[in-house]
């Protein structure tokens, strides 16, 4: 199978996390991704899209899905036209703190960094471009 690219644009509304997840799951199905990889990609979509909806001010989000069939790797590129925001510039939360000392928040992007094989951010003109890479096996 060749590499391919698909893309989808959704309004910046929380409920569209379902649309994005289904789009990605259906598109990846022919490659028989592991249950774990698919779940982790779903978590990444949830975290990254909900951040765009909450903070970016962008009215929509474009998700570009690229699969490299040779090495069974998916690349998801999230593009919004909101305020410049690099989620990777924040320091990681201290995950050794007790429940009482834990802060609510800051966990989502940290989680994405941990469960994806690669995460990159760049500002491209007036766009935020966040890319995650994940092996499907």
């Amino acid at each position: 199978m060749q590499d391919w690219v698909k893309e989808i644009v959704v309004d910046s509304k929380f409920e569209n996390v379902r649309t994005l997840t289904e789009f990605v799951e259906n598109s990846l199905e022919p490659y028989h991704p592991s249950h774990k990889a698919l779940m982790q990609i779903g978590v990444a979509i949830d975290e990254l899209f909900s951040n765009v909806v909450r903070y970016s001010g962008s009215t929509n989000l474009k998700l570009i899905l690229n699969v490299n069939a040779d090495v069974l790797t998916a690349k998801l590129t999230f593009i919004d036209e909101g305020v410049e925001y690099n989620p990777l510039s924040k320091s990681d939360p201290d995950v050794t703190l007790s429940a009482e000392d834990r802060k609510i928040g800051g966990l989502g992007v940290f989680l994405v960094k941990k469960i994806m094989d690669g995460v990159e951010y760049k500002r491209d003109g007036h766009k935020n471009v966040l890319t995650v890479v994940k092996k499907l096996t």
Binding site: F14, V17, D46, V95, A99, L111
Partner: protein
């Protein structure tokens, strides 16, 4: 997501089914917030929960903080994928997974 809730005196159990994410975490929050008065045993059953994101972790953390003051909270039947999410976020040290 589906939530099955049972309350018996000071015991509350919540069985979750489906995805605990940005969309559904507020549902769980509304089942817990302000409703734990007098509860000393809180039990979550994750047997049918397939998925958790940080929105779900936040609700569990809030519940754990309350239960640390007034009793105990356990989570049972956690699948390996969710256990891994607990581990990388340090939640396995905060929560009691049995």
């Amino acid at each position: 997501m589906k939530i099955e809730k049972k309350v018996d005196a000071s015991n509350m159990s919540l069985a979750l089914e489906g995805r605990l994410d940005t969309m559904t975490a507020p549902l769980l929050e509304s089942e817990i917030q302000g409703k734990l008065d007098g509860v000393t045993n809180l039990e979550f059953n994750f047997a049918k929960l397939t998925y958790i994101s940080s929105a779900g972790l936040r609700v569990l953390l809030a519940a754990q903080k309350i239960m640390n003051k007034q009793g105990k909270m356990i989570i049972k039947n956690v699948c390996d994928e969710i256990k891994e999410i607990f581990e990388v976020t340090g939640f396995s040290d905060i929560l009691t997974v049995v």
